[in-house]
């Protein structure tokens, strides 16, 4: 496009040599054009990066680094040009940009950016992205609360950063290393070395800043629980503790401790990182001293009536397809440590989770929290001793939660739970069940197993979220169907919908006929890690309700039947999302893609409201158009390139800036009519836009029409000073037009040159959906895609960004294409409201074709022979 522009600029101005003021405007317009190009480029790179999360690509660190840097450079350049257009007006953008860039660079350098405080993170703001900072235990329990919506104890994490700063503040590193060296050299026994280090840690002092952060977190906890004096469980949440390196049970867990003892408890838990066992274990596994970084979980105590453990798959017999629940009265510690007998239930892994076997034992003691802190064993009264401690309903609740957690983490789980006095189930801890060894015996040769199952379809559609799932097909045709969605079913639908969020906790997988990998639903699938394939084109036709299928959304295959082995195979793999690179990409994208700057009339629509690169890009785009109008108005009141308001039959406020020969001479009014336009591409565009049928479509009630007209007028006259006349702008010359339209919440940009040199001719059309109702938006994008493709445009569809290009046609045919774009803009502006279903895309395409043909015939513009 830049080359074309140069040609155009040269043709228009160079040769004919216009006066200074106009040249100045041209250079500004040039800047404006560059801004539009950058804007496009940024959106494209953003879409590409988002695609990589789907799992269909193999990418590496280099990709993340280079695409982030590319993005940063593009945004930087965008701001640079914008500053040239609006000098010093939005200088705050520079600072915002820098801070986003610093955050991204920090992430790329491997330093996680922690919001709020370095020392403490409340559960509400923890996600799996912070696992390195808060440890596995905290990250898991916080995700179970925040993402899955299950009850967990309120609490906060003391971070690994706090651990490091505690060591630094007390100068422990060198001392601990010295002791460890002596131990390595066999000068000290494990016990002696351990005691020295533990004593050292327990005597350490807490930095005032750290202490304040903890006090603040406690205050917040008192506030949200309404408890005046808290009793806490303080547990280790070390890195790697819950994953492949099983330190399970080796670190200290303190129960029911008064809040004033928290910091001492904290030190005691830290010290347990240097128990003789932990030291020995790390030595064997080759951990370095620097890798010890313990986060700590601080949780409110649950007043447990019944507690226990759930294995979501029986570890002793994984192929038996059952879960195992152990339960006892009181707190669960004795069950976890295996110190006491517990009731044992085997439960089906499928809804409604029938109990398949039970073993009720005599429970003579229960472990309970004492009123003033600490815990003790108490005798259980005779009649309760032999009573089954869970009802069938409670078993179901636990089982359902267990399967939900397993589905989310894509791995069988070892879950600690408790039921309180009010019969509320709380999840206390969840970690992967250690069954890799058993699994490897079950799965031997995966390709020979899958060969036995018929493939229903493969290689169709786009993988949005990878993973493996089995289940029964459940067709969703309307929102009402979502209310009846069975737990563990596979959602099959014609189109993607953000409303599927409603069943995100229940669906084992999602398959749709149409959709894109960048839509809103894609985000939901990824957040909930639901294996998802969209755009298969045929799922609803081929799959039958109730049919049992297996979706392998890693290889993009749907099999008939339930391939258990494939699921087990999935358990064996470390999930793709668990890799460092994947998490890194997710984290950097959080600084890049979310769009918060939605409404240009919102009072927060200013530089300081920008949180991401997308926000900056959106803001710059909006303001650049506004600036161009203003610049022209303010700086060149007498220039020929003056803004004029175009009078149109249709309700569209459009400002025209003529830079050379786009309008008939000797017009001296601030308003012009269409017949005064000489610009070839602009004239054709307007012809199409105002052609019968393209702007207002029947049937439409009067009220509805006026509603639409209020949408397409970009401002209300009483709200905005007359100086700011909206964002619909066309910059034209005799052969050129650049048209920016904001209709409702979406953008159209058309850039075209039509002259006698066929090789210079081009038309570029860009459509970007707004932020309202993502489904209809994507339908409209799809419609535009189809309409443009059918009319020989080279089209690119990415999410709801549609780009159409056509070039090197003779002037007549180019004019025809411009008229078509005009029709298309007019036609689509209201489709948001009308596109209630996907079938309508086809209907509208036909209608639009008819319209375009009719218009063609009346104008006698048949196919031009090149």
């Amino acid at each position: 496009m830049a080359g074309k522009l140069l040609t155009w600029t040269k043709n228009t101005f160079g040769a004919r040599g216009k006066h200074q003021k106009k040249v100045a405007f041209v250079s500004l317009f040039h800047t404006f054009q560059r801004i539009l190009e950058l804007n496009n480029r940024i959106l494209e790179v953003m879409a590409d990066m988002g695609d990589k999360l789907g799992g269909d690509y193999v990418f590496d660190r280099q990709y993340i680094n280079s695409s982030c840097r590319q993005m940063t450079n593009l945004v930087h350049e965008l701001i640079y040009h914008f500053n040239a257009l609006a000098p010093k007006k939005y200088s705050a953008l520079d600072g915002i940009f820098r801070s986003i860039n610093i955050d991204i660079e920090e992430e790329l350098a491997g330093r996680l950016v922690i919001p709020q405080s370095e020392y403490v993170m409340p559960y509400e703001i923890i996600s799996r992205d912070f696992a390195d900072v808060v440890g596995g235990k905290n990250a898991n329990i916080a995700e179970i609360k925040n993402r899955l919506g299950l009850a967990v104890p309120e609490g906060f994490a003391i971070t690994t950063r706090a651990f490091k700063s505690f060591f630094d503040y007390n100068d422990f590193q060198a001392k601990v290393e010295g002791i460890l060296n002596a131990w390595e050299d066999a000068e000290l026994t494990s016990e002696a070395a351990s005691k020295e280090i533990m004593d050292l840690i327990k005597s350490g002092s807490i930095e005032p800043q750290f202490q304040r952060a903890v006090e603040k977190a406690l205050k917040h906890l008192r506030h949200i629980t309404g408890i005046r004096s808290l009793f806490l469980a303080v547990r280790s949440s070390a890195m790697g503790e819950d994953s492949e390196h099983s330190f399970a049970g080796q670190y200290l867990s303190l129960l029911n401790r008064p809040e004033q003892d928290l910091l001492q408890c904290y030190k005691d838990v830290l010290a347990s990182a240097y128990s003789p066992f932990a030291m020995e274990y790390r030595r064997q596994k080759g951990f370095s001293v620097y890798e010890v970084a313990m986060a700590v979980a601080c949780q409110c105590m649950v007043d447990a009536r019944i507690s226990g453990v759930l294995y979501s798959l029986d570890p002793l017999d994984p192929t038996s397809e059952v879960m195992v629940i152990s339960a006892t009265w009181g707190l669960g510690v004795p069950v976890v440590s295996g110190k006491t007998n517990a009731d044992r239930f085997t439960v089906s892994r499928e809804s409604p989770y029938d109990v398949k076997g039970l073993d009720i034992v005599r429970k003579t003691e229960r472990f309970v929290a004492k009123e003033r802190g600490d815990c003790e064993f108490q005798p259980v009264i005779e009649e309760m001793q032999t009573r089954m401690c869970l009802t069938e309903e409670q078993i179901r609740d636990i089982a359902e939660a267990g399967i939900m957690i397993e589905r989310y983490y894509k791995y069988p789980q070892d879950i600690e739970w408790a039921i309180d006095q009010k019969n509320q189930l709380h999840i206390l801890q969840a970690r992967p069940l250690n069954i890799k060894a058993q699994m490897s015996q079950v799965v031997c040769d995966i390709s020979s197993v899958t060969e036995k199952y018929p493939v229903i379809f493969s290689g169709r559609g786009i993988i949005v979220q990878n993973g493996i799932a089995t289940g029964k097909v459940f067709m969703v045709q309307s929102d009402g169907d979502l209310d009846n969605f069975p737990n563990g079913a596979i959602l099959v639908a014609r189109e993607t919908s953000p409303r599927f969020a409603k069943v995100a906790r229940k669906a084992n997988a999602i398959i749709t006929d149409v959709g894109t990998s960048t839509g809103h639903m894609a985000t939901i699938s990824r957040e909930f890690r639901i294996p998802t394939i969209v755009n298969t084109g045929m799922a609803t036709e081929i799959l039958k309700p109730g049919q049992e299928i297996t979706l392998d959304a890693e290889e993009n295959v749907v099999y008939e039947g339930r391939i258990k082995e494939l699921c087990y195979y999935g358990f064996m793999e470390d999930a793709f999302e668990e890799t460092y690179e994947y998490r890194l990409l997710r984290r950097v994208l959080k600084k890049i893609t979310p769009l918060n700057m939605v409404d240009p009339y919102d009072k927060d629509f200013n530089p300081s409201g920008c949180r991401t690169y997308h926000d900056i890009t959106r803001f710059v785009h909006e303001k650049a158009v506004e600036e161009l109008i203003d610049i022209n108005n303010d700086r060149h009141p007498d220039a020929e390139a003056k803004r004029k308001k175009l009078k149109l039959e249709i309700p569209l406020d459009l400002i025209i800036i003529d830079i050379d020969g786009g309008l008939k001479e000797t017009i001296d009014s601030s308003t012009i009519t269409t017949d005064q336009i000489q610009s070839v591409p602009m004239r054709s565009f307007l012809e199409g836009l105002s052609a019968p049928g393209s702007w207002s479509r029947e049937p439409m009630s009067v009220d509805f029409g006026s509603f639409m007209s209020s949408l397409t007028r970009t401002f209300s006259s009483h709200l905005v000073s007359p100086r700011y006349v909206g964002q619909n702008l066309a910059v034209i010359s005799g052969e050129y037009a650049n048209i920016s339209l904001r209709l409702g919440y979406h953008f159209n940009m058309i850039d075209a040159y039509i002259g006698n040199q066929i090789n210079d001719n081009y038309a570029y059309f860009r459509f970007l959906g707004g932020v309202t109702d993502p489904i209809r938006r994507s339908r409209r994008a799809k419609f535009i895609y189809e309409a443009l493709s059918q009319n020989d445009f080279n089209v690119d569809l990415r999410g709801d960004l549609v780009i159409g290009r056509i070039k090197k046609l003779g002037p007549q045919l180019m004019e025809r294409k411009m008229a078509l774009l005009g029709q298309l803009v007019g036609f689509t502006r209201q489709l948001d409201v009308q596109m209630n279903s996907d079938r309508q895309i086809v209907k509208f395409i036909r209608e639009f074709e008819g319209l375009a043909r009719a218009d063609n015939n009346t104008k006698g513009l048949g196919r031009e022979i090149q």
Binding site: K52, Y57, D60, Q62, Y63, S447, D552, E554, F576, E581
Partner: protein, 131 residues
């Protein structure tokens, strides 16, 4: 590979994400896979066993991928080597083709692309075996 045995593939890449994505995908497609994140380990492995196909990154810590594929080709000329790299330049591509590399894929690539490339390499090996 003959006698209905599985095609054997060695994958070397120092980034976990590549191995975790590629290993299972190829395994499920019916190949026998060994993955290595350290070139020294992969190097000693090819001294013990000839693989049908080797997939390797070019830029890694320690031994250079180019050196590694040279070793592979020297040791077992029949092994087809597929290069995957995030730093694709014309020069590196040219150099690897000169060294007899079967194909060259720039990261990021789609799983389908590498599967296709592997299939082509497999076909070539089979044809070589027949002639």
């Amino acid at each position: 590979m003959s006698n209905g045995e599985k095609t054997t593939i060695l994958i070397l890449d120092d980034e976990a994400i590549v191995l975790k994505r590629l290993g299972p995908a190829l395994e499920k497609a019916g190949y026998e896979i060994e993955v290595f994140s350290r070139s020294s380990d992969a190097s000693s492995r090819i001294m013990e066993k000839n693989f049908d196909i080797v997939i390797t990154d070019l830029k890694m810590e320690g031994l250079d991928g180019m050196q590694f594929l040279t070793q592979v080709k020297e040791r077992s000329p029949g092994t087809e080597v597929i290069v995957i790299t995030g730093f694709a330049t014309m020069d590196t591509a040219k150099e690897s083709f000169q060294k007899g590399v079967f194909d060259f894929l720039a990261k990021p690539f789609k799983l389908g692309e590498i599967l296709e490339t592997v299939k082509k390499a497999e076909k070539k090996i089979k044809q070589a075996g027949l002639s």
